[in-house]
Subunit: 127 residues, 2 copies
């Protein structure tokens, strides 16, 4: 039994994972074209990153044809969980509540979102 890959992607790796989580299977070029919209980097940079991610076990790839196809190997929710917990410890001294309030207090969340969070909290309380 091999250990599960520990979800510690770097920032650049995270950008790529976002795309893979969203799209499923992707070629390097597909990922790169999306990345280019928000970022300014060369194609071989994206390629190299994805190759490193493969070495680390963050992604799998199908090399049966010339153009390789990549997909995420790490779980989106687990990765998010891990990063959020780290931030709660690192930045908010372990207080999830303080982080939540900070996150919501800055008009990032719409009224609809706030309502859905309230509903969610009610369900949490009733358990």
């Amino acid at each position: 039994m091999t250990a599960a890959p520990s979800p510690r992607p770097t920032e650049s790796e995270l950008e790529i994972l976002q795309i893979l989580w969203d799209k499923g299977n992707c070629t390097v070029r597909e990922v790169h074209e999306i990345l280019e919209k928000s970022k300014d980097a060369g194609y071989t940079t994206t390629l190299k990153l994805m190759q490193i991610m493969h070495e680390k076990g963050l992604v799998a790839r199908d090399t049966s044809s010339k153009t390789h196809i990549y997909r995420a190997l790490v779980n989106q929710e687990k990765t998010q969980q891990h990063l959020v917990n780290k931030m709660i410890d690192n930045v908010f001294n372990g207080s999830a509540a303080r982080m939540v309030m900070q996150a919501l207090g800055n008009h990032k969340a719409s009224k609809d979102e706030i309502d859905s969070i309230k509903k969610y909290l009610d369900e949490l309380s009733n358990q």
Copy 2:
């Protein structure tokens, strides 16, 4: 007019900022002794980090006596805000609500905390 220091502390710098935010004024030794409890690094490492933070404008220091006294220059809430927003974008595709639910869904928050969040959300909605 000089630009405000942009709040982009590294992880190690954040550990030190936490202490400074909590304690106010500190010597390197004080910071180091607290750091040692959770981390394993030499005194000169802590010193060097704090010197770099000074160069970056993250902290101020009083050098009038031999033992320098440091204090945080960046604002705690602004820094938290900045990091949380970055995480929302980077990790949760811009959805604050998804991050909040992820943060609360994993037993990090106690019942009391959840209640206080609900109260907070009610205030937000009533504006």
